[in-house]
């Protein structure tokens, strides 16, 4: 573990937004993630299979949403500094074809531990104003 790139705790306040991002998730995004992750479950690219599984259509990988959320936190935290990341997947993200599902991510300081030199970052991920992740939290090593 290194300390060279850690974000500082000084001046950081609970409630402060440290990063936010809007991501357009398209079928291209899903195919790219399937290839990169090795998760080839057809509900993430095949409409017929998705419908027969009782889904509203092709949906995004939960782990894609979590990965995108992590990248938003990393933008502030720096690479390699997220010690712990957890989430529940509360709502699927249907991805139209053509078109995009626009997901907004907001990373907010939830707690600061000056002794441990860590910050808990709470991540809100929303599609059309509805949460797609629940209790999404990252614990970040800080300087």
């Amino acid at each position: 573990m290194t300390a060279e790139n850690r974000p500082g705790l000084d001046g950081l306040e609970v409630g402060q937004v440290v990063a936010e991002r809007e991501v357009e998730v398209t079928r291209d995004t899903l195919v790219r993630y399937a290839g990169a992750s090795g998760d080839f479950n057809p509900i993430h690219y095949n409409d017929v299979v998705a419908a027969s599984a009782g889904l509203p259509g092709v949906i995004a990988h939960g782990m894609l949403t979590m990965g995108l959320a992590a990248s938003v936190v990393e933008e502030w935290a720096g690479p390699g500094n997220v010690q712990d990341l957890q989430t529940r997947f509360s709502r699927p993200i249907p991805v139209p074809n053509p078109g995009a599902a626009v997901v907004t991510f907001t990373a907010t300081v939830g707690a600061i531990d000056a002794e441990a030199r860590t910050a808990r970052i709470d991540i809100a991920a929303e599609l059309d104003g509805q949460k797609v992740l629940t209790k999404a939290q990252a614990l970040v090593s800080c300087a």
């Binding site: 790139n5 990169a36 990988h61 782990m63 894609l64 979590m66 990965g67 390699g80 712990d84 529940r88």
Partner: protein
């Protein structure tokens, strides 16, 4: 599903070799923009031995291990009825290119409620020296059949 499968462990499995190319590809797929995912020089400048993996990269390795649970007929997961319920990564150190990572996956819990079985697995990732790298906890929700 067979609740008696709780406590089973699978592995260690053949090590996964972390490569720069895979880290770059994964970083691109999850919109991770740091140059430390792409360039060895940028990674070194941030204090890493080589290109560093994005936070959720470990899922590639963990899901390969979890597959051993999903396909075990004595556990009884119907993969066509699976939805991901939750996920957690605890990193004991960052993953970097060049790591050789072996996995052992444990079934920590199987709970049933309202016609849905929740299977919680814990995958322990260790490096070539046997030192812990990451712990990945994942819960799958499996809708039980109509029969």
């Amino acid at each position: 599903m067979n609740t008696e499968a709780v406590g089973r462990a699978y592995g260690p499995h053949e090590p996964y070799e972390v490569t720069r190319v895979k880290i770059r590809e994964f970083a691109d797929a999850v919109d991770a923009r740091s140059f430390a995912h792409l360039s060895e020089e940028a990674a070194r400048a941030e204090g890493y031995a080589d290109v560093v993996a994005p936070t959720t990269f470990a899922v590639i390795i963990a899901q390969q291990a979890e597959f051993h649970v999903v396909v075990d007929p004595e556990v009884g997961v119907d993969f066509s009825r699976v939805v991901h319920a939750d996920e957690r990564f605890t990193h004991h150190r960052p993953i970097v290119a060049g790591d050789l990572i072996s996995t052992t996956v444990h079934i920590d819990a199987i709970k049933q409620r309202a016609g849905i079985s929740f299977v919680t697995t814990r995958t322990e990732l260790a490096d070539a020296d046997g030192a812990p790298v990451s712990t990945v906890i994942s819960t799958l929700a499996v809708r039980e059949g109509d029969a």
